[in-house]
């Protein structure tokens, strides 16, 4: 039972992540990558990794450095590591983009960008894992949300391992038979480990705790929650380990993935039931924007599951897998991420600014740092654009999709503006802002009171 202080570099992770999200939306709006290019074209790979590493992974890492200590009531193992970790991840990410550009023939092919990307990203994610795993390891109790995060961390390890193998083969650093085999057939495993294991599983764990906390609902320790954890972990184990084994043994991967899919479906159904339970048993009738905007994100997760099952039933999944991934990445993960960012940025800024003077003088409430009515319209526009975009991808009309991507960009710009205003205390009444003893927060890092 120890207190938790602010994670100094979490805001830097968030800022870098949001820049990547904006960059990805610009790409989609100008028609760079899928759906204008093929699913496996280098342009699409750049777009996909801009979203998966640049936006979602950096967002998740920054959030976890602040959030894992809260989950297990232990301080972060190292407060020094997050900055070099961020720099390694950014350098590795840049090298990866250059590698894909080499693949596309857009830049000089001689520097070994893929090998460099594999090394830098591998080291970066290893430091993320080390720091968070040591924090989790040192805790005396690990509540259920923390165990979801543990599985998520195993997911990022698997994703990175497969990604590094791909990068080494792409970069021509190895022609080791099993690696080449994995490169050819293992792409679905990389996507499942990343999107399902690392991002979705971690988001589920974090959402259990955040939704309970901000809606004053009882913490879930139900049989269904435990079953969701076990079934989900089993699904990922079957998909990634079983899938890798199948690829290496030359067995058909599809049956393994089908078995994993059934387990995953059961896990997500239990999670859905739990979330409904949380919203129903909440003590706060009027919930804040972050909990309200989690609803369309959760609906997007449910919709992407339904869409997958329907497409699978009609045998059309392979041609529409792009639409499913789009809905997962932008409706579910990005939607939930943006909604929770809206609260997390306000809360951390409030704590950083007013924590030291609480009780000693009149301070604003957390809600005084934000103007929900103004943010709400951006969130509405965002989800509307994502859902319409998904439908257009299914029916396959690329030009209109670009227009909707531009709308997403506008909406994201609106939300980012709100976050910057929150960070700058722009909406706090002048009196409260200028009182003595209050430090104006920096945009990109926290002046945390670490002792």
């Amino acid at each position: 039972m120890i207190g938790v202080s602010l994670s100094r570099w979490t805001m830097s992770y968030f800022a870098a992540a949001l820049l990547a999200l904006v960059a990805a939306e610009v790409m989609m709006a100008i028609g760079y990558g899928f759906p204008s290019a093929a699913l496996r074209a280098p342009e699409t790979l750049i777009l996909v990794h801009m979203v998966a590493i640049g936006w979602l992974s950096l967002l998740m890492c920054g959030a976890l450095f602040q959030f894992v200590p809260v989950l297990v009531a232990r301080p972060l193992h190292s407060n020094t590591l997050p900055l070099p970790t961020l720099l390694l991840l950014l350098a590795g990410f840049a090298a990866l983009i250059l590698g894909f550009l080499q693949l596309a023939g857009d830049v000089d092919p001689s520097p070994p960008c893929f090998v460099l990307a594999g090394a830098l990203l591998g080291l970066g994610f290893a430091l993320v894992l080390w720091n968070l795993a040591r924090t989790l390891w040192a805790a005396s109790t690990r509540p259920l949300p923390a165990r979801f995060v543990v599985v998520g961390l195993i997911g990022v390890a698997a994703t990175a391992a497969l990604g590094i193998i791909f990068a080494l083969v792409f970069g021509g650093a190895t022609s080791y038979g099993p690696f080449v085999l994995l490169m050819e057939k293992g792409l679905p495993l990389h996507v499942i480990a990343g999107l399902g294991g690392w991002l979705t599983f971690t988001a589920i764990g974090v959402s259990y705790r955040l939704l309970a906390m901000f809606m004053l609902a009882p913490e879930l320790d139900r049989t269904s929650t435990k079953a969701a954890l076990r079934l989900g972990a089993a699904a990922l184990g079957v998909a990634v380990l079983g899938g890798t084994a199948a690829v290496l043994l030359g067995v058909d991967v599809e049956f393994v993935l089908l078995a994993a899919g059934i387990l995953g479906l059961a896990s997500l159904a239990l999670y859905g039931a739990d979330v409904l339970h949380l919203y129903r048993t909440r003590k706060r009738r009027n919930i804040e924007l972050n909990s309200r905007m989690a609803i369309p994100a959760l609906a997007s997760l449910a919709a992407s599951v339904v869409l997958t099952v329907v497409l699978l039933a009609f045998g059309r999944l392979p041609e529409h897998v792009g639409a499913v991934v789009f809905l997962m990445a932008f409706g579910w993960l990005s939607g939930l991420g943006l909604a929770q960012l809206y609260k997390i940025v306000a809360f951390l800024t409030w704590l950083e600014c007013y924590g030291p003077v609480l009780g000693k003088m009149q301070t604003p409430r957390v809600q005084d740092l934000v103007v929900e009515a103004r943010a709400l319209k951006w969130f509405r526009l965002y989800f509307l654009a994502v859902w319409s975009g998904t439908i257009l991808l299914v029916v396959g009309y690329a030009p209109a999709f670009q227009a909707l991507a531009a709308l997403m960009l506008v909406a994201t710009g609106g939300i980012v503006t709100e976050l910057v205003r929150t960070r700058r205390l722009a909406d706090v009444k002048a009196v409260a802002q200028l009182q003595a003893g209050i430090r104006k927060p920096r945009l990109l890092f926290s002046l945390s009171h670490q002792t």
Binding site: M1, I2, G3, V4, S5, P69, V70, A73, S140, T141, M213, F214, L216, P218, E219, D221, K283, R284, F347, W350, L351, G355, P356, L358, G359, K360, T363, R365, V366, H449, T451
Partner: protein
């Protein structure tokens, strides 16, 4: 090494609607050096894990069926008996005076409980104790209390849902971690 456990079955107390917490703490206080506790309960007593953890016990929980649980609390190295741990919060509640203020913050949304507790501590005198009920561990509050030089002790009540924190004004030495 042969392990020695004191046995305590609190299932009858729980089934009759009673609170076994005091009985458990009494039993723990009477343990010989190196001795552990074997506890039988009608649910998995998660809150006890951190309470006894802060007194230097590791735990191993096993479901017995019908919802019953057996938990083995073992003294870990560096804490040969429960009595040797003095710095842990909630270890020696007896020498703190009775609280002069009580707050029930269970129905407030975060961070209002923290705001109220810190506001209350500003109005109290040196050595006075505040008691507050919360619905979660106040982990952002604790560094703030430590910085202001207040002592604190906290833990979940036996119901596993209510967290009680005691704050003693201006007596931080030895009380915080």
């Amino acid at each position: 090494m042969k392990e020695v456990f004191a046995n305590l079955d609190v299932r009858p107390i729980l089934r009759s609607g009673g609170e076994p917490f005091e009985k458990i703490m009494e039993t723990v206080a009477r343990l010989a050096p190196g001795q552990g506790l074997r506890l039988l309960a009608t649910f998995k007593p998660v809150p006890l894990f951190s309470v006894l953890g802060s007194k230097g016990f590791s735990h191993e929980a096993r479901e017995l069926g019908d919802g019953d649980w057996e938990v083995l609390f073992r003294p870990t190295n560096g804490a040969s008996s429960a009595r040797s741990v003095s710095a842990a919060p909630a270890a020696d509640v007896s020498d703190w005076p009775a609280p002069v203020q009580q707050l029930d913050n269970r129905e407030l949304d975060p961070p209002e409980p923290m705001v109220r507790i810190l506001a209350a501590t500003e109005t109290m005198k040196q050595g006075e104790v505040l008691s507050a009920l919360l619905c979660r561990e106040p982990i952002f509050l604790i560094p703030e209390l430590a910085k202001r030089g207040h002592g604190w002790r906290g833990g979940f009540e036996p119901d596993g849902k209510t967290y009680r924190i005691l704050v003693r004004i201006g007596t931080a030495e030895g009380a915080t971690v």
